[in-house]
């Protein structure tokens, strides 16, 4: 099974806070592939809100997104776009 990994920088001021994490999880949940999001050796299931919140991804931190399975490359790309778009928050 194909596995895709990419690294993204958290650029919004509030970081991976509750609303941002929810958006990320909602996006990840649309894909059937397994998606992991990790930071400094800690890893969480990108489809679990609690797990993503636990990463405490503040502004300026880097997260690694790894997807395995169906549409893995698209899933990673879309998550990257969401992070880069500051989760649609504008700051």
């Amino acid at each position: 099974m194909s596995s895709v990994t990419d690294r993204f920088e958290i650029v919004n001021v509030l970081g991976l806070h509750a609303r941002a994490a929810t958006k990320l999880v909602q996006l990840a949940s649309r894909y059937r592939c397994e998606i992991l999001i990790g930071r400094e050796g800690q890893s969480a299931n990108a489809k679990s809100v609690m797990g993503v919140l636990l990463l405490c991804g503040a502004k300026g931190t880097f997260v690694d997104v790894t997807a395995t399975g169906e549409l893995a490359d698209e899933a990673v790309r879309r998550i990257g776009e969401l992070i880069a778009s500051k989760f649609g928050e504008g700051e």
């Binding site: 890893s43 969480a44 299931n45 489809k47 797990g51």
Partner: protein, 357 residues
């Protein structure tokens, strides 16, 4: 099986001496320069023969204990002999030497420790108390750890780790169990650590403790909603329950005679694969799974006993060779424990002590 002695993690001597979890007082008497040296073993070593010059088997990254016996040997030596013994001993690059019973170490020992930068630590406790405290601390701090995606619930004292794909309904199952009076340990992220002999414990990440996420309701605080009896901070994992989507093409276990195991931190934990389908009351099924687990623990295996009875009806005694059976052997269970992974520990099946729960 995990090597219970040598750990993948390490601690520095300085971290151990300053750890508030130690519960005994340790005073650094000499060799502070070496407080950055590492301890990589969960068990101490008594220095004994090393002081006589027999260094075989001495591991520098284990904490060395100089107890009453060693002290009595040293006090029988002349100052010169003591210096000689100390020079050989401290020349081994030891990470930490602990003198027990609050004994003031001999000046030759202190000098050698200082010269070699070997941390020399004095404990006021007896050797036995010191060793117990150090072992408990090292077991905890050096325990192999991992994080699993799942939900851990204590059901009648059996630790069920619910796993399965996202949105299969793990948290909903846990909530159902809480409503039936059982206790939530961790939702979504379970931090697991290994404890000898052959046990894995799970707990919640501190930030998420007592919380559960239910789609449509959001994040709930179980402690606030149900009180202190509905939560538990830490629980040994007894069974992994893998929830899977019901598929008509898959054959599920219908007998319950064959055991499956899942490796968690090198420990074989029994695994149940339970298909989820509307109309199957998962709370009841998991409650029964826990009851059955307790029964197995007490030495009863319902499926085995049932099939043994069936065997007795189907075949006349004479048709069976001695020890032969139509029932597939159950790994690690009862007298037929000759094959496969041990069910929990090599110490077998006896009732588990309350403490290990």
């Amino acid at each position: 099986m995990i090597d219970e002695e040598r750990s993948a993690r390490t601690l520095t001597t300085g971290e151990i001496v300053a750890d508030p979890g130690l519960g005994i007082e340790l005073r650094v008497a000499a060799g502070e320069a070496g407080l950055g040296r590492t301890i990589a073993h969960t068990r101490i070593q008594k220095s004994g023969l090393a002081l006589v010059g027999h260094f075989h088997g001495l591991v520098p990254t284990r904490i060395q204990i100089i107890g009453e016996t060693e002290c009595s040997y040293l006090s029988g030596l002349s100052a010169d002999e003591r210096r000689q013994a100390a020079e050989g001993y401290f020349g081994l690059g030891l990470s930490c030497v602990v003198v027990t019973r609050g004994v003031e170490p001999f000046p030759e020992i202190v000098a050698c420790a200082e010269a070699t930068g070997t941390p020399l630590v004095v404990s006021r406790e007896k050797s036995s108390g010191t060793i117990t405290a150090i072992h408990a601390l090292l077991d905890d701090r050096l325990a192999p750890r991992t994080t699993l995606h799942g939900v851990l619930v204590d059901v009648y004292g059996a630790g069920l780790l619910l796993t399965g794909a996202s949105s299969i309904g793990k948290s909903e199952c846990a909530l159902d169990l809480v409503l039936r009076g059982h206790r939530l340990v961790a939702d979504d992220v379970v931090e697991c650590d290994y404890r000898p002999p052959g046990m894995v414990f799970g707990q919640a990440a501190p930030l998420l403790r007592h919380h559960i996420e239910i789609r449509g309701l959001g994040v709930l605080n179980i402690r606030d909603l149900f009180g202190v009896t509905a939560i538990r901070d830490r629980k040994r994992i007894d069974v992994v329950v893998r929830l899977v989507e019901w598929s008509d093409d898959t054959e599920y276990d219908r007998m319950g005679v064959d055991d499956r195991y899942q490796q968690v931190l090198g420990v074989s934990v029994r695994e149940l694969v339970i298909p989820v389908r509307p109309g199957r009351n998962m709370g009841s099924i998991l409650e029964i799974a826990a009851r059955n687990e307790l029964l197995r623990d007490a030495g009863h295996h319902a499926a085995r006993e049932f099939f043994a009875r069936l065997e007795g009806t189907l075949l006349p005694r004479s048709a069976l060779q001695e020890g032969e059976s139509i029932v597939p052997p159950v790994v690690g269970f009862g007298p037929r424990s000759d094959a496969g992974p041990p069910r929990r520990t090599e110490f077998g099946f006896g009732p588990r002590s309350e403490r290990s729960r």
